[in-house]
Structure formats: structure tokens, C-alpha cells
Amino acid sequence: MIRVQTADFDPGLELEQLRIQTDGQSGAVVSFTGLVRDLNDGHEIRQMTLEHYPGMTEKALRAIEQKAQARWSLAGTIIIHRVGPLQPNDRIVFVAAASTHRKDAFRACEFMIDTLKTDAPFWKKEATSAGTRWLSATEPDQPGQAD
């Protein structure tokens, strides 16, 4: 299941859906939640705006889910990414994988967030006390994001 939305999401609700959906067949559920960090190079982050490419972004997320499902034995997967303006400590992204074996769930969850960060068309614009700028993918430690 993939979703791109401006609204916040509830990780507990998503994990519960995955648990109900996999009803007794999965022993392991691993989740990753990405939050907006409050500092970048000593500048306080006031706002983080997420832009996406409607249509292509959803396709990219579905492709990531399908790759994970092809590579590991998974009972269910979730990818949710928010767009629009976000504040420090807000949830940005949620990725989860359910599996019989926990190694599969860990590997798949990490693969999905790693791949999302390189393959899915999202862009971050950061507003700090030093001004506003689009983040660059070439920065080794991308600020304001869970790297």
C-alpha cells in the first residue's frame, strides 16, 4: 500500500492495519518513521516544504514496494510520504514491512526507505533563520531529513 498525502498519518493505525491484514501469518513487523529535524548547520529549521511529481511519484513508490516484495518473502508493505509544508519533529515518511522472519522485515524496510531516498521524485525546501533553499542531493548529510 502506498500513499502520498499532505495530511499527517498515524503509525499506530498503519501498524494495526498491517497486523490485521496479515492475520497470524506474520511474526515480524518492522517500521521506519522519518521526522523533520530541527537544526541544519546550526540554523533552526522553521519549515520544510515537500514537493512531489504527481503521478510519477506514486509509480515510483509502487515500484519500490514491488521490488521489495520480489526480493523478500513479505506478508505486507506500507509506504506513506507527506508533501506540503511541515514543521520540525513532524512525520515525513513511514515505511513498514511484515514478514514471517524478522530478517526479511528488517532488510525490506531498510531497502524501501533507502531506495525511496534515491528513486522517488520528492524535493525538500528548507526555511531557516539563514533563508530559504532547496536541499541538494549531493550533501553527504542532508539536513532536516533522516539520513
Binding site: 522519518g34 515537500l50 514537493e51 512531489h52 511529481y53 503521478g55 510519477m56 509509480k59 510520504h81 515525513i92 515518511v93 526507505i113 525511496l116 531516498k117 534515491t118 528513486d119 522517488a120 521524485p121 520528492f122 524535493w123 525538500k124 525546501k125 532547496w134 536541499l135 541538494s136 542531493a137 549531493t138 542532508q142 531529513q145 533522516a146
Partner: protein, 83 residues
Amino acid sequence: MVQLCYFSSLREALGTGDGQVELPGEINDLAGLTSWRQSRNDTWRQALADTRLHVAINHQIVNTNVPVNNGDEITWFPPVTGG
């Protein structure tokens, strides 16, 4: 007609988008299309010359010069930074 889109810092650098445009008859591939947009002015010439840009045609990233056809959606954007 083709649909031309620009995202993120590129769109801001261009100052404006493009939307639906009529392809001139002599333009039938990506290289030609890019040159044509670059010919608009120096801002466009410079912005679209950035070799880090990605191009997607109908939501598929393309890495070589490929034909463009009426009805295509062609999009330029900088490296992604989501997640």
C-alpha cells in the same frame, strides 16, 4: 502538443513553467526539444544545461536522447531529496 514540466529548484530558477506547448515540426527528439527550450533566453539556456538534471518522459527516466511525440509529458528535475 506536448506537456513540459519543471520541478523544485529548476522551476524556481526558470521563474515560470511551460505547460502545454505545440512542438515545432522540426523537433522530434529530446535533444532538439531541450535546445529549443534553451533558446528562449539565457536563464533557460543556463538552467537546462545543468548536467545533474534528470529527465522523465511519461514518468520514465530517460538517460539518452530519445524521440519525443505529440501527447508526451516531458519533465526536467534536479536529483531527488525526499524521505
